[in-house]
Amino acid sequence: MSATATAPDRLRAGGKPPRRAEGGALSRPRGTIATVIMAVLALVWLFPLIWAVLNSFRSYAYTQQNGYLSFGGWTLDNYRTVWQDSGLGKYFLNSLIITVPAVILTLFLSSLVAFVLARFSYRFNLTLLAVFLAANLMPPQALLIPVYRMFRSIPLPLFMSESGTVLGSYWGLIAINVAFQMGFCTFVLSNYMKTLPHEIYEQAQLDGASVWRQYWQLTMPLVRPALAALGTLEVTWIYNEFFWATVLLGGQGDKFPITSALNNLRGQFFVDYNLLSAGSVLVALPVLVVFFVLQKQFVAGLTLGSTKG
């Protein structure tokens, strides 16, 4: 358990804790204290997760009879029920349909903005960056009603949306996700691009590279670590997005992404928490996969940024 406890923790802190432990900046007893504190914090942080995973393997009848502090009632039935009865596969596909275009669009559009902000000095550069950042701080709930009404009155051809409006289609949901995530991505990418040496752009200009070429063939390969790091984060955030998906799909149950569809495991009155845990574990898996596949680039992106200058 301690191995699982420290691994994500270390990753989350961007590789700093191991350096501190080995670096000798702290004396030995203080280092031990720090380790103990971090272990305790990691355990506190992981406890609900481990608890959910444990209970997802237990039968409802057993825990209801003996309480959650008991030990026993092991079963795989919860996972079987989740997968078979509620057809989660369909909802995973919906999540994919929303997440992939949204992440690609967000990264593409924000890298365009970031490139301009970082490479050219216009009068409104700072204002533009501030606007992006400010929008990022805005609570989405405050925009619920205007966005809902706006989407309801924008018509779409029927082959794009069964409902005939942006409301109830994936287009609107993808657009709103892109809009809300662009602020953060633009901010990170423009800061990252500013750290690229100015000389290579002068060189490129001397060689006759157009602005587009400077962006696409010079900047983009260089910011790949940052893009990978942002990609990981954005996949997690957009995949986990619940609020807009529930509201903007116009209550069409078969279009819900997996996060909203998790509610299907709750009845009107009756809630089987073990079943819900099994569902949650399944829903969390794709994020973990993305994280572990991209973690090398994720960590590389963080350290690249921090050692520069």
Binding site: T165, V247, Q252, G267, Q268
Partner: protein, 440 residues
């Protein structure tokens, strides 16, 4: 771009469907409905505005998702039976109960399904007044549907906007084996109730199981106490916002409740109703005031469960009222297929539809009295008797009043009261102040 193709292909099928339904309709002598149906159908075909189906299919919004168990099966079976009988395609939209209910406002103002599941009474009236659901008074009277259901389906303008499906009563549940073992008898008035609770405490049993972690279960206790102490009419006008929450009457309800709390399970705020039901199942508690869905949490005890209506507290008021929420269907104004939806509603009210849905193991009871009852369990049969004998039926607190008032004011207030039962004046005053800002 491939959308027009299947639509085009569906036209012959829908024409067939129309013909089939017209035959049924003619038999029922309701030609107008079919004519209306075909005209909407043609309009939808020709116009580019409408969107949705040109095929005459009915969109059916269900507040249960697959995996939710018998409640879902029942709705799905009814929809299937209608599709089979009429030849009309029924497009099911399955959304889980809580999400459906929380999104009902955006749903109805957006692109709602034609027919959707909803609640009778106040919550239906709200939408009728806002013009979000269609007048379906020509579906009424429905053969086999009692007057009390018609009243529950009638909005403030005197027209019907609702077709009932089923209902379930709230009552005091107990285990027959426990009552037999200790020789307990269901009480009929306050004195008997107090004697019974004393006896139970003597036998080391907590008289009432009690939980309010979810927020809504304790509303049932408030409802029944208010109806027993102040009567049904006062309860309904209090729910409608016409009475003061800091009045002597309401305070008396809370005082009575406070005096009964010692015979309830302690610390209800940390317990879900399922846990409370389990403690009754284990014999730690003697009784539990809840809806018949209590069976869902303790299915093994179904044959051992019995119930009685909450005893009278005031002999001048009696024990003739109870909570029995009615579920059913409405027709949305924004739905594209009004005539087709109405045809489906007409079917959903029949005994035939009730029978089609009643193959599950659900403890709920069909609203239509002509429905077959031979397949009912003992609990279902008794529920039907008890509700049939009741003079007045309430729909449950969060259905009899504004949803925002129930969830944002009543739930936290009741939880605060259960946490500290001594401050009744403070709780009622705070409810009243918030009520004034919500009911304008």
């Amino acid at each position: 771009m491939n959308q027009p193709r299947p639509g085009y292909q569906q036209i012959p099928a829908s024409v067939l469907g129309m013909a089939a339904s017209r035959r049924n309709v003619l038999r029922g002598g309701l030609l107008t409905g079919a004519l209306l149906g075909s005209s909407t159908f043609l309009a939808a075909c020709g116009g580019d505005s409408g969107g949705g189906d040109a095929s005459g299919a009915v969109k059916f919004g269900m507040n249960e998702a697959s995996g939710a168990g018998p409640a879902f099966d029942r709705l799905a079976q009814m929809a299937e039976a209608y599709a089979k009988k009429s030849g009309v395609k029924v497009d099911r939209n399955e959304v889980d109960h809580n999400t459906f209910q929380e999104n009902i406002n955006t749903y109805l103002q957006g692109n709602p399904d034609d027919v959707f599941t909803w609640f009778a009474g106040f919550r239906m009236n709200e939408f009728a007044e806002k013009g979000l659901i269609s007048d379906v008074s020509d579906v009424w009277p429905i053969d086999g549907m009692a007057d009390s259901f018609k009243t529950a389906a009638t909005a403030s303008d005197g027209k019907q906007y609702f077709v009932p499906k089923d209902y379930y009563p709230w009552a005091v549940f107990y285990k027959k084996s426990v009552f037999e073992k200790f020789g307990y008898v269901p009480p009929t008035d306050l004195a008997e109730l107090m004697t019974l609770t004393k006896k139970m405490q003597g036998d080391d049993i907590t008289p009432f199981a009690f939980a309010d972690k979810d927020g809504w279960p304790a509303m049932g206790t408030f409802d029944i106490l208010n109806m027993r102490i102040n009567g049904f009419d006062f309860h309904m006008s209090l729910m409608a916002g016409d009475e003061e929450w800091d009045s002597a009457e309401v305070k008396q309800v809370f005082e009575t409740w406070a005096s009964l709390l010692p015979v309830h399970q302690a610390d209800p705020l940390g317990r879900t109703w399922q846990e409370a039901a389990t403690s009754m199942s284990k014999g730690e508690c003697g009784m539990y005031l809840l809806g018949t869905f209590v069976v869902d949490a303790i299915p093994d005890d179904e044959d051992d469960l019995d119930f009685f209506t909450f005893p009278e507290l005031d002999s001048s008021i009696g024990a003739t009222a109870l909570d029995a929420p009615i579920d059913g269907f409405c027709l949305s104004v924004a739905g594209k297929n009004q005539a087709g939806g109405k045809e489906m509603l007409k079917y959903l009210g029949t005994a035939e539809a009730a029978d089609a849905g009643n193959k599950g193991t659900t403890p709920f009871i069909a609203a239509n009295s002509n429905a077959t009852t031979s397949g009912y369990s003992a609990l279902q049969t008794k529920s039907a008797e008890v509700v049939g004998a009741a003079e007045n039926i309430a729909q449950f607190l969060d259905r009899d009043t504004r949803a925002d008032f129930a969830t944002t004011v009543i739930i936290p207030s009741i939880q605060k009261f259960l946490d500290d039962p001594s401050d009744i004046d403070g709780v009622t005053k705070s409810i009243q102040e918030q009520k004034e800002s919500i009911f304008v």
